[in-house]
Symmetry: C2
Subunit: 201 residues, 2 copies
């Protein structure tokens, strides 16, 4: 069976970098934005739209109440979201069957659960997450510390809701992961070779 | 500076075994019941009494209210408890200065916090903890599953309260640890050599 490493991560914890570097160090596949591109191709929806759907809290197909009866009302927008989720599940399963790999986010730990993935969760304290966001630039630009903290918290809230919606599990619960790694005050580049030793025979 | 590894652990998670085996694998000192014996010697209190105090929720020196005034009433029992806590803090600091070591429980992660310990927390799901307790015998003997689950929960509640009393921190919070290890469905003997690779230069 392939070695499948899944990475859940708090925003600003360096989890994506850790996943990418770990894949490089172990010389195995790494999937992240490739997933969005491939889904976009398969569903013929724009990459931007796919990305947005996969990063925001999903909207469940709520029944609409009329009097005392319930009717499911199909809605083109919700149907396209559902198509994206289904395609993502199919694609992640395909990729994990192809070769050893690192999968970041996307409830991959749950999607490939029958293939015994090694499930990592990466977290850090707020000060450290703030610093990492500032160093990366882009997303932090023009925001005060207070605004950036609110942004970090909101993104993690979205991730937790997305995870719970798809898996019925609590994103924060340690029991959903095999290893939880605190990256407060660490340099990702320095800890990856140490971590990689765990995966070598 | 010495390599100091501290292990916090849920009851039944195999954390103590993990600590002992990790120390053996790394050929460094391991301190557990030795701490109780040494405190007993230094305080001239029985080992059993010291053990009991160090494993139960501590009783703070509560002020007694008389009318609208508060008086601190010194009490010989509480004073001896305080002596035990102080001796433990002193001893753990001494041991961590002597050589590389693994320290299990006892808020060691907090006590040696200025010496940059590597802080591990070991946890598992309830089914796995039940099985480990049954295999070890002793503590599980004669108890139904329901009673044993209650016992496991109570011991962890005591540990959480003890930890919070001494450190002001939440025992369950991932941020208090560098690495959290899920031992559900794992054999401790098998994972320790893999974990030990992380500590070798």
């Amino acid at each position: 069976m392939n070695t499948i490493i899944t990475i859940g991560r708090e925003f600003g914890s360096g989890g994506r970098e850790l996943g990418r570097r770990l894949a490089e160090e172990l010389k195995i596949a790494y999937y992240d934005s490739e997933i969005v591109s491939e889904i976009s191709k398969r569903t013929q929806l724009s990459e931007n739209y796919v990305k947005q759907i996969l990063e925001k809290q999903p909207v469940p197909l709520m029944p609409i109440t009329i009097g005392h009866s319930f009717y499911h009302v199909p809605h083109p927008l919700l149907e396209s979201n559902r198509a994206i989720y289904n395609e993502q599940t199919k694609l992640i399963n395909e990729l994990s069957e192809k070769s050893d790999c690192v999968l970041v986010g996307r409830c991959a730990d749950y999607i490939v659960r029958d293939k015994h993935p090694f499930r990592i969760f990466v977290y850090a304290d707020m000060e450290s997450k703030l610093r990492r966001c500032r160093e990366k630039g882009d997303e932090a630009e023009g925001l005060s510390d207070k605004e950036l903290i609110r942004k970090i918290k909101n993104i993690d809230k979205d991730r937790a809701q997305y995870y719970e919606f798809f898996t019925g599990r609590d994103w924060h619960d340690k029991l959903n992961y095999d290893l939880c790694i605190n990256t407060t005050n660490t340099v990702i580049k320095d800890i990856v070779p140490i971590l990689a030793r765990m995966f070598r025979a």
